[in-house]
Symmetry: C2
C-alpha cells in the first residue's frame, strides 16, 4: 500500500523530471545557436570576391569585401558575441544538469542575457539584410546601382550567412520562451 502511494505521489509531481527535460532542450538549443553563429560568421568572412570592373576604359580588378560595409562589420561583431555567449552558456547549462539546485537562479540569468543577445542578433540580421537587399536590387530613386550581378559569389555568401543568422535569432527567441516556461512551471498553482 505504501509503495503504491509513493508511486502515485511521484507520478503526480511531474515538475522535477520535466525540468530536467527542459534543460536538455536548453543545451540543444544553445548548441544550435553556437553552430548558427559560427556558420554565419564563417560564410560572411569568406565572402571576399575580386572582379574586373570597367574604370576609365580599363578593366581593373575591384574587390568586394564584407568590411567595406559598416553593416556587415556590425554583423560579424554581433555574431562573434552571440557565438561566444552560446558556447559559455551551453557549457554552464551542461554543468547545471548535475546540480539541479542552482538551475532556477541560472535560468533567470540566462533569460536576461538571451534577451540582450536577441536584440543584438536581430538588429544585426536586419542591418546586413537591408544592405544586401540594396546590393541585390539597387535603388533607382537615389541612383544606388545593384552589385550582385557582378559579385555573384559575394552575394551568395551574404544570402547564406543572413539566412543562417535569421535561424540563430529564431533559436534565441525559442531559448527565451523555454526559460520563461521552465521558471513558470516551478510556480505553485
Amino acid at each position: 500500500m505504501a509503495s503504491t502511494e509513493t508511486e502515485y505521489k511521484s507520478s503526480s509531481t511531474p515538475p522535477p523530471p520535466a525540468g530536467v527535460d527542459y534543460f536538455k532542450v536548453d543545451v540543444i538549443l544553445r548548441f544550435l545557436l553556437l553552430v548558427a553563429s559560427v556558420v554565419a560568421l564563417a560564410v560572411m568572412v569568406s565572402s571576399d570576391q575580386t572582379e574586373l570592373v570597367l574604370f576609365l576604359n580599363m578593366l581593373v580588378p575591384q574587390p568586394a569585401k564584407f568590411k567595406y560595409s559598416p553593416a556587415f562589420v556590425y554583423f560579424v561583431a554581433a555574431f562573434s558575441v552571440s557565438g561566444l555567449y552560446a558556447l559559455i552558456s551551453a557549457l554552464v547549462s551542461i554543468s547545471l544538469i548535475q546540480k539541479p539546485e542552482y538551475k532556477l537562479k541560472f535560468l533567470l540569468h540566462f533569460l536576461f542575457w538571451d534577451a540582450l543577445i536577441l536584440g543584438i542578433t536581430a538588429s544585426a540580421t536586419g542591418a546586413a539584410g537591408s544592405v544586401a537587399y540594396v546590393g541585390l536590387k539597387g535603388n533607382s530613386h537615389v541612383g544606388w546601382i545593384k552589385v550582385c550581378n557582378v559579385y555573384d559569389k559575394f552575394c551568395r555568401h551574404l544570402a547564406g550567412s543572413i539566412s543562417v543568422a535569421l535561424f540563430g535569432s529564431i533559436v534565441t527567441v525559442l531559448l527565451i520562451w523555454l526559460s520563461a516556461f521552465t521558471i513558470h512551471s516551478r510556480v505553485p498553482k
Copy 2:
C-alpha cells in the same frame, strides 16, 4: 503579541505587494513602448521631402519618400505592429491590476509576445539604421552616393525616428526582464 506576530509575518512575505509594484512598472513601460512606436511612425511617415536635382542639365523636382526603400517600409510595418501590441497589452495589464489571480498566467503570455516583438522591432531598427547610414555616408566601394547632403530634412526625420525606435527596442528588453523577474519572484525558494 498576536498583532506583533502578524506584522512580522506580513513584513517577511514581500512577494504580493512587490508583485503589484511590478505590474505598475509594466503598465508604464508598455505606455512608453506605445509612445515610442507612435512617435517613430509619425516622424518616419512625415519625412517626405522634394528637392530640385540636376538631371540632363535641367533642375527637376525629385522627391525622397520612405516608401522608396523596402527597409523603411518594413520599419513602418514593424512599428505599427509593436504600437498596436503595446496598446492592447497595456490595456490588459491595467485590467489585471484589479485581478491579481490571473497575473501570473498573463505574465508568461506577455513574455512570449514581448520576445517576438523585440525580434521584429530590433531587426526593423537595424534595417532602417543601416540604409540610413548608407544615405548619410554613401559607400565609395560600390559607388553608392550619399543623399543626406541634398535631402537634409528627410535624413533628420530618419535619424529621429530610428533613435526613438532604438529606445522602444530597449523598453521591450526591459519588459522581458521585468516579466521574467516577476515570475521568478513567485517561485518558492
